[in-house]
Symmetry: C2
């Protein structure tokens, strides 16, 4: 019965508290910036999901067990939150106010082979801003900044937001006289997995000459934490209108997001996101010391996120892989329950006294539970200790910090624990060892 | 593409805010009482789900699209949160501290025919307390009380928590000399759908005599808001040890939960929950004026929630159907976005001034967005109006309540909106019309 399913991680309560706090922080950040929440159903019609050809093998089909076995499945679990959101926008276009900022945190499912940081069921946290017909460029800056602020507030290794712009790559390749810039982009996109020497060979195989390949690789080496990338690109001596537009856009995003404390923001011209349908800004994100996990947070601008008979809906967004983000964490909270206080029970006949004390504490928002049995006080203290509950209340009017042993007289209608004990805190690896 | 799927409801942002506030309130209540959160994966092995025979046709099977079509599905979406929780308890028994209180709010899926209040994808909010080997009875009282407090704090029609105890029914039937009390319970369970006259016939068909059927129906008519049901049952003149035990237990639960303001708590001896494996306390809940929705919140005690080679895990819990609970609501929040303030933009060149003002407001936890374009101020105010954002800030230092028209000078590092404007509020039906 209790066979664990590979790729479907589940947390113990002490671990889940860490995940909850991460999710709470993300929500708080998104809502502070005015993003509205949307939840879409877990399933989409198969034909909606299969429009992007490359992912069909990863999809989980869903079918009523009572349905005819010969009938093909018509539904499948969503594998990201972008496709459902695009469908939601079209379905509700008449009722939404554009530009529309939304955040969405939900599980997604992919039938891939599980490995470190790659799951079959995992949580994504997406923000997108979508408009009808025209989406001003400052929203690219906003999305980068909001996600940078969200990452900066998390107890994770330092994140580097790597930003590029498809127009720079495409314009540069066109300026170099490359016939098929998309094909080149897909080759360059492999740079974090394949050595530069091999990329050069692949470019030559595409019919490029050696100086072209040289400059394409030189472009991909440019990484700066400020707008100096503009000069370095210009120094490569390639000119094209699209390139100039891309450089100006990327400079604006880097400038706009680089003053967020706690994260590094780079212009990184290796980032291409070759297989997605981005049309301008593109984002990836890596965690210091955990680069092997790949990008934990990616996105960009789609000039055509969705389209109906009347309108086009351009969008810009980023998707954060919450489950992958949690991999580097110790995943331990200071306690396994929300309770800050355990009210001891003298005798079963007087349990209602303890219940009343607990009620008074909860009334002032102090998470409290009552001991399960009128056991010896030593055993009741042990119950609190095992769960990491910091305070034990002895009826009627005495409360003990069981870490320090300090016990004081107190009134349940006025006593309050120090703020740092009110909710569980996330332990660092040092505190754990 | 945008075909709506029947039974898979999705909310507009203004509706979703209501659902979010309901979920936030539930979480806050559960955590104040020390319940820890658990999330289980969406899928379970099919054999785990099919153990309870009667639900197999409602299950959605899940299978990788790339898998062999001839292979049967091995996974399915969970149809409740109790079966996954029982599996989770067994899988993690060595790492959990018992008694273990947990809350769990997740989507569940059932392939039933959709109708009002019945969906194919819906949200459940469960609390359970589970122990190893022995679970003291006071936890039955606690679970009832916590859910009563949770319901009392919601903007819904008045809820009636209807509580009964299987031991009363079983003991009463045994005391009457009935051979198969379970069969009788399943007949009596139909009382809210089938007239009493028909129930009487069904009982006679089971081989009972007329006086037996009479007293069984008389028992089922007993509904009290206090412990006076004990005397009324005793007046029926049936005696059995199990009956006495059940009466004492039910009296304890009703007494313990009946002082929660804002909900009605009843001992209701019609409640049997005939098809579930409860062994003592059973709960159902109905909303005033919305009784046709059926029970929105049900549960009870299982003496054997789970079992492994070494131990039995008794549990008591209640499951709230959040999606059904939302049916009577107007489902409209005072605004469609979290933003309390829109910062206007004078000109695109000075957008950074507006961004700085927004940053200062957000720094003090005031949800704020910046206008999408430096349009005429009238148009910017309209942007706020359409979303229900109450305040528009005009740089550098003036803020207008666009409902009253009142405009004041203000400093973004100190100005705060009234608390009731900080987050969206839920509108009543009267406010809407």
């Amino acid at each position: 019965m209790s066979k664990k399913l590979s790729g479907f991680p589940e947390f113990l309560p002490r671990e889940r508290i860490v995940e909850q706090q991460v999710l709470d922080h993300l929500r708080r950040t998104f809502e502070l910036h005015g993003f509205a929440n949307v939840e879409t159903r877990a399933v989409e019609p198969l034909d909606v999901l299969l429009r992007k050809g490359e992912i069909d093998k990863e999809v989980y089909a869903v079918k009523r067990l009572a349905a005819d076995p010969a009938e093909p499945a018509e539904l499948a679990l969503h594998y990201d939150l972008t496709v459902p959101f695009a469908r939601y926008v079209l379905e509700n276009a008449g009722k939404l106010e554009f530009p529309f900022r939304r955040w969405q945190i939900q599980k997604v499912w992919r039938g891939e082979r599980p490995q470190q940081g790659r799951f079959r069921e995992f949580t994504q946290a997406d923000i997108d801003i979508v408009a009808r017909d025209v989406l001003p460029f400052h929203f690219d800056v906003e999305v980068a900044r909001v996600m940078a602020e969200a990452l900066a507030g998390l107890p994770i290794p330092r994140a580097t937001l790597q930003i590029s712009n498809r127009k720079i790559l495409e314009g540069f390749y066109l300026g170099l006289g490359v016939a098929d810039p998309t094909a080149v982009m897909q080759v360059v996109d492999k740079l974090d997995k394949v050595p530069a020497e091999r990329i050069r060979e692949l470019l030559l195989e595409q019919g490029l000459d050696a100086p072209q390949a040289e400059r394409i690789l030189a472009l991909a080496e440019i990484v700066t934490t400020d707008t100096s990338f503009v000069q370095r690109v210009e120094a490569l001596g390639v000119e094209h209108e699209l390139l100039a537009e891309g450089l100006a856009e990327l400079a604006q995003v880097v400038k706009g997001a680089s003053d967020v404390d706690g994260v590094t923001v780079t212009a990184d011209l290796r980032i291409a996101r070759g297989l997605d349908y981005y049309t301008g800004t593109v984002f990836e994100t890596r965690l210091e010391g955990w680069e092997h996990l790949g990008s934990i947070c990616s996105g960009g601008r789609y000039d055509e996120l969705a389209k109906d008979r009347r309108s086009t809906y351009p969008g810009v967004g980023i998707s954060l892989g919450v489950s992958r983000l949690l991999v580097p964490l110790a995943l331990a909270a200071s306690r396994s329950v929300p309770s800050a206080v355990l009210v001891a029970v003298d005798a079963e006949e007087s349990r209602s006294i303890s219940d009343t004390i607990a009620g008074a504490l909860r009334y002032r928002d102090i998470p409290t539970e009552v001991a399960p049995a009128a056991a010896k006080f030593g055993k009741q203290i042990q119950y609190a200790e095992k769960r990491g509950i910091p305070y034990v209340w002895f009826p009627p009017s005495s409360v003990k910090d069981i870490r320090s042993g300090e016990q004081v007289d107190a009134d349940p209608t006025t006593w309050t624990p120090p703020l740092e004990d009110l909710t569980p805190t996330i332990l660092t690896k040092e505190q754990l060892s």
